[in-house]
């Protein structure tokens, strides 16, 4: 290994973007080496420069971007000095790229076959028929069914997972020696992600391709890569083998990042989250010395901010480096300083209850009169109740109906059948415009995307006061102003922020404003729809903790909608798992995360990448995609992908929708498997040692 020439060798690379006003350094002094057949992970939060490195390797930085220093050598050839023609010969043939959003990356007006065949036609000048034959073989390689039909298909006719397989196929058409994957599964569901990750790993192994794998997901990198490089604010801060870095972290940022991610393998008492204080520095406001300094627990004034910090050998293992000047002084095994953990509050009375709730939509007939109106069953037989002070987590993949459920609860949609009872009052038929101020104030929502849900032209304080006015709270303008300041205190925003416009706030701060608005009327029930999924990992923990703390204080019922099982395990008291509009499993967090599982929950748990090398995880990769809600399968909604189906006698699964059956106190599962069969299930996630 040591004497082999690296496929990719980046040395002291600096990349800047030039605007009219100033030069914005995006990547500084970045070095890494990818050996043949090796998979290198590039990890960091948004804005850390990881995608810029990838585009720098491709020399596709746009008109404003420029490489300002350092070198990129590909198989010993210098990329930074290549001409257009040389670059073109490299792109697609020697280095290929896989992108984050598969739909946007495929040309909507070209058939799949033509887009695939183009690669060898450009690079190897082979004929169209030969190229199409090769495309067909590659489609089989990426395990897509019916390759002839897919060659003829347009991109929009494929599902997201299939599109990403096509993008992968396109990258592999000319058997490149280096594959760059830029967040290849971020836009996909976890069960689809598991299939894609398996495929990429398998193909790369067979073809001996090296990989540069860019992700913000530490668990995914642990799954896929041999080595990794953690980036923070334009710099590499730690690099080394995956196992060394995960078991011997030698940079405060890596450690803090790791500690701020909830893991599905551990519950909150065993492994509390530790939020990283502060925010990512803006590219032109970086501090002197160590970029992480202002947020670091181990910061020493006069040393960490005195000069630029070089990469230093760390941990003893070869090729393990850290950009921390105190790498040899810090006790890396010290347990994190714990904030005082609050005792769990006992749940109170039932506050909100849904019974046999259904929401059906009627689709319009096809655009040209083809097809008839169809019924989409977005929610089927939803039964649950939640008590005061309790957190009920609602989990499921996209299209499972969890957002529809939130809309029905909020009154943005009216239920088709069934009841929703809030404090003894039936509200399923009341649209939000007919709800009184008190009802609206007591049932509030925190939205997924804090960037779009604040009015950009109104000061933050004015928006909170506006919510107070709508809820008819406060006797005078002065009173409401005081209440607004108290709300800012509650969400730990400085009081000066009242006069700021949303654009002056970071994502995490905006979401705090959203939380302040939701709690302005002392809400009894708060529906939080993926409240932190749009935020950077390092601020997610702080916002989550804040939400839970306010909930504890006010004894609010929190309905927490999420696809992140780690987060759900961390903060949920009870969990409700949804699939294709059905509740397939409901129970306390411990019950849902331990066997017996619903077969779908089992697959979902096994698909989540876990950023902990000590965790043993059983891999269950589901075949195919989630069926469309317009044409749901007959019988059990999960029967098309279920691995336990052969154990159920006859065609019970295909013909009868199972009952939501009680398997333990408070634990119900919608499955035909018998208790004895369920008892044979093994845990999916286990801590080794």
């Amino acid at each position: 290994m040591a004497d082999a020439t690296p496929i990719l060798e980046i040395e002291n690379l600096s990349i800047s973007f030039f605007t009219r006003r100033r030069e914005i350094p995006a990547v500084m002094d970045f070095s890494c080496k990818v050996m043949p057949g090796e998979a290198m992970g590039l990890v960091g939060e948004s804005g850390c420069g990881k995608s810029t490195v990838a585009l720098g390797v491709m020399r596709d930085l746009g008109r404003n971007g420029r490489i300002t220093g350092g070198s990129i050598r590909f198989k010993g050839r210098e990329i930074t000095r290549m001409g257009e023609r040389e670059l073109r010969a490299l792109r697609g043939r020697e280095i290929a790229m896989i992108y984050q959003e598969p739909m946007a990356s495929l040309n909507p007006a070209m058939r799949i076959g033509a887009q695939l065949a183009e690669v060898p036609m450009i690079h190897e000048r082979i004929g169209r028929d030969e190229a199409l034959a090769r495309a067909r073989a590659i489609i089989e390689d990426v395990r897509l069914p019916d390759p002839d039909r897919i060659l003829q298909a347009w991109p929009h006719q494929l599902s997201g997972g299939q599109q990403q397989r096509i993008v992968i196929a396109m990258a592999l058409m000319s058997r490149p020696s280096l594959l760059i994957l830029d967040e290849p599964t971020t836009a996909l569901d976890v069960t689809v992600e598991a299939g894609i990750v398996d495929l990429v790993r398998d193909l790369a192994e067979r073809q001996g391709t090296s990989m540069l794998f860019i992700s913000h997901n530490l668990g995914l990198v642990l799954d896929v890569c041999d080595r990794l490089c953690v980036m923070y604010s334009g710099e590499a801060v730690e690099t080394g083998g995956v196992t060394e870095v995960f078991s011997d972290m030698r940079h405060p940022y890596t450690q803090a990042l790791f500690r701020s991610i909830p893991l599905p393998g551990a519950d909150k008492s065993a492994r509390p989250l530790v939020a990283i204080p502060g925010n990512l520095p803006l590219p032109h406001e970086r501090p002197p010395g160590c970029n992480f300094g202002p947020r670091c627990d181990h910061f020493v004034a006069g040393r960490c901010d005195a000069q630029g910090i070089p990469m230093l050998p760390a941990g003893g293992a070869p090729r393990h480096h850290s950009r921390c000047i105190r790498v040899d002084e810090i006790d890396w095994n010290a347990p994190p300083a714990l904030a005082a953990t609050a005792e769990p509050t006992p749940p109170g009375e039932v506050v909100i209850e849904a019974s046999d709730l259904r929401k059906y939509y009627q689709t319009a007939p096809g655009l040209f009169g083809g097809g008839t109106a169809r019924i989409v069953k977005a929610n089927e037989q939803i039964d649950f109740s939640a008590r005061a002070g309790e957190t009920l987590a609602i989990v499921g993949e996209s299209g499972c109906g969890k957002s529809t459920l939130a809309k029905v609860l909020m009154g943005l949609e009216v239920a088709s059948a069934g009841t929703v009872t809030l404090n003894g009052e039936q509200i399923q038929a009341l649209p939000v415009e007919r709800r009184g101020a008190a009802l609206i104030a007591s049932l509030q929502m925190v939205f997924q995307n804090p960037f779009d849900t604040l009015n950009p032209s109104m000061a933050v304080g004015a928006q909170i006061i506006r919510a107070l006015e709508i809820f008819r709270i406060g006797s005078s303008a002065g009173d409401r102003h005081d209440r607004m300041l108290n709300l800012l205190d509650l969400v730990r925003l400085p009081r000066e922020f009242a006069a700021r416009k949303p654009r002056q706030l970071s994502g995490g701060q905006k979401q705090r404003v959203g939380i302040a608005r939701a709690f302005a009327g002392e809400a009894k029930v708060v529906v939080a729809d993926e409240p932190v999924s749009a935020l950077d990992v390092s601020v997610q923990a702080a916002v989550t903790d804040l939400l839970m703390e306010i909930q504890r204080k006010n004894r609010t019922t929190l309905l927490f909608i999420s696809h992140d099982l780690g987060l759900v395990r961390y903060l949920g008291d009870r969990v409700l798992v949804m699939y294709l509009g059905h509740v397939v499993e409901i129970g306390s967090t411990d019950q849902v995360f331990a066997p017996p599982y619903h077969p779908y929950t089992e697959a979902l748990l096994s698909a989540v990448p876990v950023a902990d090398p000590r965790v043993n995880r059983k891999r269950i990769v589901l075949q195919g995609d989630v069926p469309s809600a317009m044409t749901p399968p007959p019988g059990c909604p999960f029967q098309t992908r279920c691995r336990w189906k052969p154990q159920v006698p006859g065609d019970l699964c295909e013909s009868v929708v199972p009952e939501l059956r009680r398997v333990a106190s408070g634990h119900r599962v919608k499955c035909h498997l018998t208790d004895a069969q369920l008892a044979t299930m093994e845990p999916v996630i286990e801590m080794a040692g």
């Binding site: 596709d60 010969a89 792109r91 043939r93 990356s105 040309n107 450009i122 347009w154 655009l367």
Partner: protein, 347 residues
């Protein structure tokens, strides 16, 4: 797809009926008919004479009946005076027994022009074909050059080429035809500048067109429409060039030319296609000024004559043509949109 076509055609027919009825009603208002009676009969008629003339010539019937006759779905009127039976469908001197009962647009009888003293269908056929030639050459000049300008400007947004082409297209679109036409005549055919390359009139083009007598009117119309289409194409093109699939194509190793031709062009043409199709009805009416300026007696000129002289039948005929052109081009535009955009074509 078939279903779509059938529905589309049915809506078109319904629209055509409504539009022609509105034109029929407006052109057959009582003052117009009175004027018609006086110009056809005698300018010094008394009111009573006017009324009886209108009755004798079928104009006193209810509006819907008259519209039905004109359309050819109601039997033509007949009236008897002094033993001679006359009627809508009975040519002068022919016997009522030999004549058809229905005669209207559907039967190919478009009426008689009072200004030109000739059948409306004949006049429209000759005039429309003259304008058709003009429109054809305008399209031949305008569409390819506008698309070329738009694509060249949009493929590298903000470049020098883009700025030059964008400025030029804004300038041409902002200049009305009666300004650009006069300037072109002054520069290229008058003794003021002395270039005298082209003729300042297109009268001779009605017999046979040549580059010399036809280029200036074609250029005048084309310049005006060109800037507009070019701007639309540029906007569409520059948006497509920032799309992620263009990056995909670039990072496949495709050359810039290939990226533009194979990946960007088709996606960029979807929006301007509708605009180009909208230009046909505009051309039909927009030619009025240029035809007058260059004394080219085409459809626009005929329309002005008919409107100015209360020639009801000719005006109706012109409107039928206009309605048909609008509806057909819109149908083609929708169809072309579907063909260019696979996302709509194949669900």
């Amino acid at each position: 797809m078939l279903n779509f076509l059938v529905r589309r055609i049915l809506t078109m027919l319904a629209t055509a009926l409504v539009l022609t009825f509105m034109v029929f009603w407006l052109t057959n208002l009582p003052p117009n008919l009175e004027k018609l009676a006086k110009s056809e009969g005698n300018a010094r008629m008394t009111d009573a004479e006017v009324t009886s003339w209108l009755e004798r010539n079928g104009h006193a019937q209810p509006l819907l009946k008259r519209y039905g006759e004109w359309l050819g779905v109601a039997p033509g009127w007949t009236s008897e005076r002094g033993g001679v039976v006359s009627g809508r469908c009975i040519p002068r001197g022919a016997s009522p027994g030999d004549s058809a009962r229905f005669c209207g647009v559907l039967q190919g009888y478009w009426g008689q022009s009072t200004v030109f003293k000739a059948p409306v269908s004949e006049i429209i056929a000759t005039r429309l074909s003259l304008t058709g030639i003009l429109m054809f050459w305008v399209m031949v000049l305008m569409v390819p050059s506008a698309l070329l300008i738009g694509v060249l400007a949009g493929m590298r947004e903000g470049s020098k080429l883009d700025r030059v082409l964008s400025t030029a297209s804004i300038a041409t679109t902002a200049t009305p035809e009666y300004v650009s036409g006069v300037i072109l005549i002054a520069v290229f055919s008058s003794s003021m500048v002395g270039l005298k390359w082209f003729k300042g009139t297109a009268t001779s083009a009605m017999e046979g067109i040549s580059f010399e007598n036809f280029f200036l009117p074609v250029l005048t119309i084309a310049l005006y429409g060109m800037g507009y289409i070019a701007r639309m194409t540029r906007a569409s093109m520059s948006e497509v060039m920032t799309a992620q699939y263009i990056r995909t194509a670039r990072l496949k190793g495709a050359s810039f030319g290939r990226v533009v031709m194979r990946h960007a062009l088709r996606n960029a043409l979807i929006a301007p296609f509708t605009v180009i199709m909208l230009q046909f009805p505009w051309l039909l009416n927009g030619v009025v000024i240029v035809e007058t300026l260059f004394n080219f007696k085409g459809f626009g000129w005929t329309l002005v004559q008919a409107a100015g002289n209360n020639d009801i039948q000719l005006l109706l005929g012109c409107s039928v043509v206009a309605v048909a052109v609008v509806l057909v081009t819109q149908a083609i535009s929708d169809l072309g949109y579907v063909l260019l955009n696979p996302r709509i074509r194949v669900p």
